[in-house]
Amino acid sequence: MTSSLAGRMQTRVLLFAVIGGIWTALVTPILPTRLPLGRSYELSFTVLALIIVLGLLWELLYHLLQQYRWDKDWPTALSLLAGVPEGTLIWLLLGTGTWLWDLPVTARGYWLLFGSVWFVVWVVLSGPIRVLLVRRRWRGGRLFG
């Protein structure tokens, strides 16, 4: 991928909000959270919101790292592997049980949710998005501007 900073930000918000949102809505009822459904949804959409909000900060870091690459590209494997630090950070934050997310989260429930959301979004980003947003790849990943 060859994203600009604005393209990274826009893509992060759009893909996780739309694709991630649909996926989260579908998968939450079968997640092993040991919580009532309402609380499960609260948990899973909190995770999704954190992926988006913290992600905007992560994208700044990725964009900085991208500057060290001659091609100014971002290999697809890095997009996939970025899930490891990002997922870990959110897991640690949830573990603090403070701020907005006073939710008793299970490791299995969390990683199934995070892992599957991350993977589905990565798959869409790696190809199918080009069918729907045909100009995006020529515009540094931007949807607007």
């Binding site: 991928m1 060859t2 994203s3 600009s4 991208q66 500057q67 060290y68 001659w70 091609d71 100014k72 590209d73 290999p75 697809t76 494997a77 890095l78 996939l80 190809g127 199918p128 080009r130 069918v131 729907l132 947003l133 045909v134 100009r135 790849r137 020529w138 515009r139 540094g140 990943g141």
Partner: protein
């Protein structure tokens, strides 16, 4: 017949009056006896540039009756297939092209790696391309498609969009503005056709994708050929030169290779393969104009290099086709543009482990040597040998070789291309900061607008514009999309929105003829 002046018998050919007149009317053509044919959109060239645009416009809903491709080529990939073959990329070899750069598929999805995996007949054949494209370029080299795969895919798409129905065969002589708006494009038909010798295509829109003006023959190479009247010993790598390899099998010799790009790498591979396969004693002297001894550039613009070569996966840094570098290029004008293109670095070749191993062995065995300098002259020596005088940094070297293979490029001046020269002289086109055709970000040729008509160009002739990497699969497809969007705003076709794109992709996937 004209109303005034001496009576002129129409010959159906170009008259001096036509050649001298910048803007034509129907009367001019009538006087010359040249018949007029109509089509809203004409694409001149008929190579992959024309194919990319026609594919895009067909997908945007333009009917076959509204498009005409004027070309001497029998298929859009004819020139490409020829040039790859002679420059030592056989049909089964891999190109230097990204997996998602698909001239047969405007979406680049599914990419060639996925398609190769799906079509594989073994588990290894299934997993290998997927693993390579997943881990590129971190764990290995970039995945690149085979020539044959790309050609087959284009043939399928050509049938699907009914490309052959839109082709008018012949050689385009010139494009001139029309008094009432739009353009006339003069096609010289082949002698064997029963049609008129010249046909004037009247259209609102014209697209030029005429490829390279010709091979760039370096002056000393040209001088050698002229003085010895022998063009078999000093060849350009883009010319057929199988005889070089044939003769080396019969008689050992030294080959001088010039250039440090992908073609030089391919030629070196062929020479080494020949040596290994047939047990030859070929020696190679490799002349580098610029010798890259290691990675070069400041921290944020550092390109890998070594052993004389600059290494880069593709023709340009990857983000020129739609990332940061494209954005940067888009914001440059004049001298800044030249500086920007300079910053992209010169000739490069991909780092391929196979080539590293071959050259490493050749070096170790002592039959591959390098010289840094500029060849000043080539002279005929004794015993069919060529003597090269090479100016290196502080001395003049003499080297002897049986053959010289020049791999320094395909480019020549756009002024040598007849249609483009005519455009510069009669139609208001200008040169960009790098000397090629000056185009808008929409690929409209600046200065050539005619009423509501528009003239576009894409491909090699537009190098140096707002989009770097124009002469590549992706460059041609990006140009097609920009032109398509401009034409959609003009009302020629529909804009490719989300719904149409998804529907048309489904038609592509099911190989539905449109």
């Amino acid at each position: 017949m004209t109303d005034a002046g001496p009576s002129v018998v129409p010959t159906g050919d170009l008259t001096q009056a036509l050649v001298d007149t910048d803007i034509w009317s129907e009367q001019h053509l009538f006087d010359a006896g040249i018949p007029i044919a109509d089509a809203p959109m004409i694409s001149v060239g008929g190579g992959i540039g024309s194919f990319a645009l026609v594919d895009h416009l067909r997908i945007c809903g333009v009917g076959t009756e509204s498009l005409r491709v004027l070309t001497p080529l029998s298929t859009p990939w004819e020139s490409f297939a020829y040039l790859t073959r002679v420059s030592q990329v056989p049909i089964g070899a891999r190109l230097r092209s990204d997996s998602s750069a698909c001239p047969d598929n405007i979406w680049g999805f599914p990419s060639y790696a996925i398609r190769e995996a799906v079509g594989a007949e073994s588990v290894r054949g299934l997993l290998a391309p997927l693993w390579q494209v997943l881990t590129e370029p971190l764990l290995g080299e970039h995945y690149t498609p085979r020539v044959g795969q790309v050609l087959d895919a284009m043939a399928r798409e050509s049938r699907r969009i009914r490309y052959p129905e839109m082709v008018a065969t012949g050689q385009v002589r010139m494009v001139r503005r029309r008094e009432a708006g739009g353009y006339f494009t003069i096609l010289t038909t082949p002698e064997w056709t029963p049609t008129a010798k010249r046909i004037a295509f009247r259209s609102a829109y014209v697209h030029l994708a005429v490829g390279y003006a010709g091979l760039k023959f370096l002056p000393e190479l040209q001088a050698y050929r002229e003085s010895t009247r022998n063009s078999s010993r000093v060849v350009n790598a883009y010319e057929p030169h199988e005889h070089v390899y044939d003769q080396l099998r019969r008689r050992p010799g030294t080959v001088m290779v010039r250039g440090s790009g992908i073609v030089a790498s391919r030629v070196l591979q062929r020479l080494i393969d020949e040596r290994n396969t047939h047990g030859l004693q070929t020696r190679v002297v490799h002349i580098f104009g610029t010798y890259v001894s290691g990675s070069q550039g400041p921290r944020f613009l550092r390109r890998r290099g070594g052993d004389g070569f600059a290494y880069q996966a593709f023709d340009d840094p990857k983000s020129v086709w739609g990332g940061q570098l494209r954005d940067q290029a888009r914001n440059t004008e004049g001298a800044e543009r030249t500086l920007f293109y300079d910053s992209l670095g010169g000739t490069s070749t991909p780092y391929r482990q196979h080539w590293q191993t071959l050259l490493g062995t050749a070096r170790a065995q002592g039959w591959y040597s390098t010289v840094v300098g500029e060849v000043e002259a080539l002279d005929a020596g004794a015993d069919d040998l060529i003597t090269a005088r090479i100016q290196s940094r502080d001395s003049v070297l003499m080297a002897e070789a049986s053959f010289v293979i020049d791999c320094t490029g395909l480019e020549s001046d756009i002024g040598e291309q007849r249609i483009l020269a005519d455009l510069l002289q009669h139609t208001g086109a200008r040169r960009n900061p790098l000397g090629r055709l000056d185009v808008e970000p929409s690929f409209e040729v600046r200065g050539t607008r005619s009423g509501r008509g528009r003239l576009y160009a894409s491909g090699a002739a537009t190098h140096g514009g707002y989009l770097p990497g124009v002469d590549t699969f992706l460059g041609l497809q990006i140009a097609a999309q920009e032109i398509g969007d401009d034409l959609a705003a003009e009302g020629l076709c529909r804009r490719l929105n989300l719904v149409r794109s998804a529907r048309e992709w489904f038609r592509w996937a099911t190989n539905t003829v449109i």
